[in-house]
């Protein structure tokens, strides 16, 4: 009898352990909150200050905790609904472009229609979010909303939207500084308005989710079963998506973009043992609430008198990132067929296309060299004026071309090593890893020279890349899992950089300049140096083309073909890390050329490694030359960050190609 009780307790104890974990984390958050309250409870009830303490407690401390809990729950629920309806474990407000779309709508409204922002911030944010998600869904409709395509399109839409937001702010002459400092995601409160708004969203959302339990359960199955069970699939799908968007955009409108919770909470709910939909509907919002509350408590703990070091919205990545990375191996995901070989037929005339690309790149360089704007308008330079301008334009073109080519080569290597078409230096956080390395170097020595800065960047990107591949190698990692890890890692590194920038010292300006990326300070020496590095680093890749062909086929095949798998992989990784860090020194980490260029080359029809590499490198160089030229021309005499233009240029094109070019498979 006692024995049986023991075993029973043991089993229930085992089943309860995730709940205990979350209970513990929730208790820590509550303790932090209690400490905060005790700091502010009136001690000397006679003075005027005590009355103010009460006001602060009532209108600042308490609503802040409420908003943390509510926003976390709302994001967790929103993420869960989206993941369920789209049958996509990576879907959430950020990866679908909802947050970025809402932010763009709000930025545009405050620039062009301030009265809209004064009256109806919420509807403006919702309009932006729903437009973004509709765009993503319509672009991937023909592919049957296949998860990887949806997330790729979503990330592209998000990237483009945030680039346009940044461009709008810059074009109005405000510094990038304000963009980062006031970027949102701060939970500071001064009344109960946002808390009330969020609690109604949560109540409506939870109520609707419970009413829709049956359709939600069925929509989690595949289309055929859903159809045979008689659900009006598209209508209910769309309604649930609209509900999720409404909830998520309210958070954006009230407190700004909060990363990671929408993605992590449902995943962590599953990991913690929530099996049925009903359990998940309870667990995901709860976990989201605990995550955000705890993060906010820690952010306030770290805050000094001069303000918070880091907005809570970025802090979630510092906490949630490692948690998700650690738990990822245990996360059960449905794996979808790889995109890598889909939809392209090998070209017969690869050589002539490479020649054509080369000529186009050359033409772009020449045009960028001679065509420009001056005080008198457009002009084509020639003779003495050209000779004079070449000294200014050629280094920029050279550096841009080399950086684009390097990112493309790095992207191709990473995509081939991981066998994952969505992997790239940007997506896996290798570029932001370079930034984290740079941050570390600057923290150690404020006066670190360019050489030391570069070494730091390389080590940073190398560390991230190796970490990603170790995670990938363990426990047979699928593409989704790697991307999840990449998003977590990228968010983690960005949070480190954001925190360093928020310090507001000299190093912050170095980081800020690095982040926005500009070829404007490029000298002739820089150009020759980067071009030499490009040749030096990509030549081995061309020679190792056989490895690049074989590695995607899997380790066993590679070993069977007599490839030194470990050594080969390590060499390629080191090359990719150096390429990424070098390129990021000039164009920043956010251009997405490393993702786009290999894709474009593949869509053109290059499948074998060597021509694919040549095509990608040329495409990358071409993209970056054109971007650099446009960044100087679009708002003359104002020069915009080149990475921003590159993502504006490449993002929509890739999305367009995805929508129309690649046929459905599997």
């Amino acid at each position: 009898m006692a024995d049986r009780a023991m075993t029973q307790r043991a089993t229930t104890g085992h089943a309860l352990s995730p709940i205990a974990l979350w209970g513990l984390l929730g208790a820590v958050a509550a303790l932090l909150f209690a400490w905060r309250v005790s700091m502010q409870s009136p001690t000397a009830p006679t003075s005027d200050g005590a009355g103010l303490d009460r006001v602060i407690l009532l209108y600042s401390t308490l609503p802040r905790a409420a908003v943390a809990v509510l926003a976390g729950a709302v994001l967790g629920l929103s993420g869960l609904l989206l993941q369920r309806v789209l049958r996509n474990p990576l879907a959430e407000p950020s990866t679908l472009g909802i947050s970025a779309g809402a932010q763009l709508a709000m930025t545009a409204a405050s620039v062009y229609a301030p009265f809209l922002m004064e009256r109806s911030q919420g509807p403006v944010a919702f309009a932006g979010g729903i437009a973004a998600v509709l765009l993503v869904l319509s672009l991937t409709w023909r592919r049957g909303l296949e998860p990887v395509s949806v997330v790729l399109a979503g990330m592209m839409v998000a990237l483009t939207a945030s680039s346009i937001s940044a461009a709008l702010i810059l074009a109005n002459g405000d510094y990038l500084f304000s963009l980062f400092i006031w970027g949102g995601g701060s939970l500071v409160q001064q009344d109960w308005g946002p808390a009330i708004a969020l609690s109604t969203r949560l109540a409506v959302g939870a109520g609707a989710a419970l009413l829709l339990l049956r359709p939600l359960t069925i929509l989690g199955l595949d289309d055929a079963s859903a159809r045979s069970l008689g659900i009006a699939r598209h209508t209910s799908r769309f309604l649930i998506i609209a509900l999720a968007v409404w909830m998520a955009t309210t958070v954006v409108a009230e407190v700004g973009v909060i990363g990671f919770v929408g993605l992590a909470a449902p995943a962590l709910a599953t990991l913690s043992g929530a099996r049925t939909l009903r359990q998940k509907l309870l667990a995901a919002p709860l976990i989201g609430a605990i995550l955000l509350w705890l993060t906010d408590g820690l952010v306030q703990l770290a805050a000094g008198a001069g303000g918070e070091r880091i907005p809570t919205g970025a802090g979630t990545a510092l906490l949630g990132g490692p948690v998700l990375l650690w738990l990822l191996r245990r996360l059960r995901l449905l794996e979808w067929p790889n995109l890598s070989t889909s939809g392209t037929s090998p070209r017969k005339s690869g050589r002539s296309i490479i020649l054509l690309l080369f000529l186009m790149t050359l033409l772009a360089a020449v045009v960028a060299l001679v065509v420009g704007r001056g005080p008198a308008g457009w002009s084509i330079a020639g003779g003495d004026i050209l000779a004079d301008l070449v000294a200014w334009r050629a280094p920029r073109i050279g550096v841009a071309a080399a950086a684009g080519a390097m990112l493309a080569a790095a992207g191709l290597v990473i995509q081939r090593i991981t066998g994952n078409p969505l992997a790239s230096p940007e997506v896996l956080g290798v570029g932001t890893g370079a930034g984290a390395g740079l941050t570390a170097v600057l923290a150690l020595s404020a006066t670190a020279g360019p050489g030391l800065q570069l070494v730091g960047s390389i080590l940073g990107s190398l560390a991230v890349l190796i970490a990603m591949l170790i995670i990938a190698a363990r426990a047979k990692f699928g593409s989704e899992r790697l991307l999840l890890a990449g998003i977590a890692m990228s968010a983690l590194c960005s949070a480190v950089i954001t925190a360093a920038i928020a310090m507001g010292n000299t190093q912050s300006y170095v980081l800020l300049r690095w982040l926005s990326g500009s070829t404007s300070q490029a000298t002739g020496f820089d150009a020759w140096l980067t071009l030499a590095c490009l040749i030096l680093l990509t030549l081995p890749l061309f020679l190792a083309a056989r490895w690049l062909d074989i590695l995607p086929l899997g380790e066993d095949t590679a070993r069977g073909l007599g490839l030194p798998v470990a050594g080969g992989r390590l060499t390629l990784i080191v090359l990719a890390a150096i390429l990424t860090a070098l390129a990021a020194m000039f164009v920043g980490p956010l251009s997405f050329v490393g993702l786009i260029a290999p894709h474009l080359a593949r869509l053109i029809g290059f499948t074998r490694a060597r021509p694919h590499l040549a095509g990608a490198v040329l495409t990358g160089a071409l993209l970056m030359i054109v971007s650099d030229w446009l960044s100087r021309m679009v708002a003359f005499p104002y020069e915009l960050p080149v990475g921003l233009i590159a993502s504006l240029l490449g993002g929509p094109y890739l999305v367009h190609l995805l929508a129309k070019g690649m046929p459905r498979h599997g």
Binding site: A305, E308, G374, A376, S379
Partner: protein, 305 residues
């Protein structure tokens, strides 16, 4: 091809003569841009806004400067003549355009030291340090003004401007109402929940002291200001007045009056809040003067109603 040759014909005709390249560019520039009023003095370009306002205050019209659209909105005075060429963003000025303008001197501050190698390819660089973490900037701004005057042969004007500014500050200090003896927060609003506080090592903080006022923000700053700080920090000094430097972000006009904590602040309840017109945050003496004038007007207004 046709449009190409047409564009070639539109090139400045100067290119057909082969004289020296620098001359050609200067010629092209004069054809396109009105010449500075005093042709005798050096042609100066300003990357730093503080240098720009100092140049104008000394009666020197720069040939080019950065971010003029924002300068006219955010720094307001001295007025920048339409003939000054806009070089684009301060962080990434348009070097090609600066090359065409071909100044004799480029004035920067230590913020823009990293641009020096590029700028020196165009003209000699004149750099001054006004803002250093932890150092009150007013004396450094005085020194920078005198140094600029020296460099451009305007010693007398520079000396006069420094003296006038000091006299003006003393005069304003004398007429400040006695009721203005309270500490003062000087802030700008980032959104409806956060502000930027100007500390001791900001120009605003330094001028407050010179006006005999106490800066209510005694805490640390990072590069002259602390940001973003939640509005509740304003409650730390209950008897302080609050001066808000314009502009306000779009949604603040609506949401601030609804902000419960803001409304509970003693300064707000008792009408000790004033909105100042925009002033350059990282300015030199002209900004200091503008700030002193606006502050004393605002505080005088408060005591009257």
């Amino acid at each position: 091809m046709n449009s190409l040759s047409r564009a070639m014909n539109n090139l400045p005709r100067a290119t057909n003569h082969p004289p020296n390249r620098r001359q050609v560019l200067a010629l092209a520039a004069t054809a396109m841009l009105p010449i500075a009023a005093r042709a005798a003095s050096l042609r100066v370009a300003a990357i730093d806004w503080g240098m720009l306002e100092t140049l104008l205050a000394l009666g020197i019209e720069p040939v080019a400067a950065t971010e003029l659209i924002q300068f006219r909105k955010l720094a307001v005075e001295p007025e920048v003549p339409r003939s000054v060429t806009d070089l684009g963003l301060r962080g990434t000025p348009n070097y090609e355009l600066l090359r065409i303008v071909a100044p004799d001197l480029v004035a920067i501050s230590s913020f823009y030291e990293y641009q020096r190698p590029m700028l020196e390819r165009i003209a000699p660089v004149f750099a001054q340090t006004v803002y250093e973490p932890g150092t009150p900037p007013y004396p450094l701004a005085e020194a920078a003004t005198l140094a600029l005057g020296e460099k451009l042969g305007r010693q007398a004007e520079a000396k006069r401007y420094v003296d006038e500014t000091a006299v003006e500050t003393t005069r304003l200090r004398a007429i400040l109402p006695a009721a203005a003896g309270r500490p003062v927060f000087v802030i700008s609003l980032g959104d409806s929940r956060h502000f930027r506080a100007f500390g001791r090592d900001s120009m605003f903080g330094d001028v407050l002291l010179r006006l005999g006022l106490e800066n209510a923000w005694a805490d640390v700053t990072r590069y002259s200001a602390a940001a973003p700080v939640g509005l509740e920090a304003l409650a730390r000094v209950p008897d302080a007045s609050i001066l808000v430097v314009s502009p306000l972000p779009a949604d603040v006009g609506r949401s601030l009056p609804e902000n419960a904590l803001w409304n509970a602040l003693p300064a707000v309840r008792e009408g000790r809040v004033a909105l100042l017109e925009p002033i350059n945050h990282f300015g030199c003496l002209p900004s200091a003067r503008r700030f002193a004038r606006l502050v004393s007007a605002a505080l005088a207004g408060q005591t009257h109603g």
